[in-house]
């Protein structure tokens, strides 16, 4: 286990060059974990909003809180990235777009589209 390794170790994040596909991939994981963490809150909101007119009003009230709105942008980004990136992964599994240039282009598209959709959501929610 404690065998010495000769591989260089870069702890400076700015010196590590991740290929764009790796960014898409790690963002897929991060967004997945964030969606998991928001799951209880979303079920709570579903429950509250269906408890009656008062519960519905409370849920709407809860969603109109500024901090919750800001947090919901993170959830929105997670959902969009996970959805769009997930569709890309499924297409890659079907061997669609697996050549390196194509995969790089679609990775960029996923990263940009998810951020754009989150910004659109922010604009819509404000």
């Amino acid at each position: 286990m404690s065998e010495q390794r000769s591989a260089p170790v870069y702890l400076n994040l700015f010196r590590i060059n991740l290929p764009v596909g790796a960014v898409t991939s790690i963002a897929h994981r991060i967004s997945g974990v964030l969606l998991f963490l928001s799951f209880p809150l979303l079920v709570y909101l579903l429950d509250l909003s269906l408890r009656g007119p008062d519960g519905f009003a409370a849920a709407v009230d809860w969603l109109s809180n500024d901090f919750i709105r800001l947090g919901s942008v993170v959830v929105a980004w997670s959902l969009f990235h996970h959805l769009i990136g997930g569709i890309r992964f499924l297409l890659l599994d079907l061997e669609l777009g697996i050549t390196r240039p194509r995969a790089r282009v679609t990775a960029w598209l996923v990263n940009i589209a998810a951020v754009a959709a989150a910004l659109l959501y922010l604009w819509w929610v404000l």
Binding site: G32, D47, L50, F56, L83, L90
Partner: protein, 112 residues
């Protein structure tokens, strides 16, 4: 979980559930964009429709499967200490199953 086909089964479950989740999420996004829910009666009536409630319950089930496979992958990759790994996996399982039952209970109560 054990056996040589486990990885393949998890891989398949992850993708089958992904297709259902993607379809349902796209449907939800389109629905809420086209028909924003302005009040409680409309929202409740929509959720209580049998087709919506059943599709929603299927969504919750797919979410549990998908979330479990995905989070298990993440934990197995980053948490190397065996005890800690088991503890985190157990917490995740409890949280997923708990929230799943909670959501299905809400859907059933609304449909009655």
């Amino acid at each position: 979980m054990s056996g040589s086909t486990d990885g393949l089964r998890a891989w398949l479950l992850q993708r089958i559930s992904a297709v259902y989740l993607a379809g349902f999420v796209i449907y939800l996004l389109l629905h809420f964009y086209l028909h924003p829910q302005p009040d409680y009666p409309a929202w409740r009536a929509w959720v209580a429709q049998p087709l919506v409630a059943i599709a929603f319950a299927g969504f919750i089930l797919a979410l549990l499967v998908h979330g479990w496979v995905g989070l298990r992958d993440v934990v197995l990759d980053y948490v190397r200490h065996l005890g800690l790994r088991m503890l985190i996996l157990t917490l995740i399982a409890f949280l997923l199953i708990g929230c799943g039952f909670w959501a299905v209970r809400v859907l059933i109560l609304v449909s009655l």
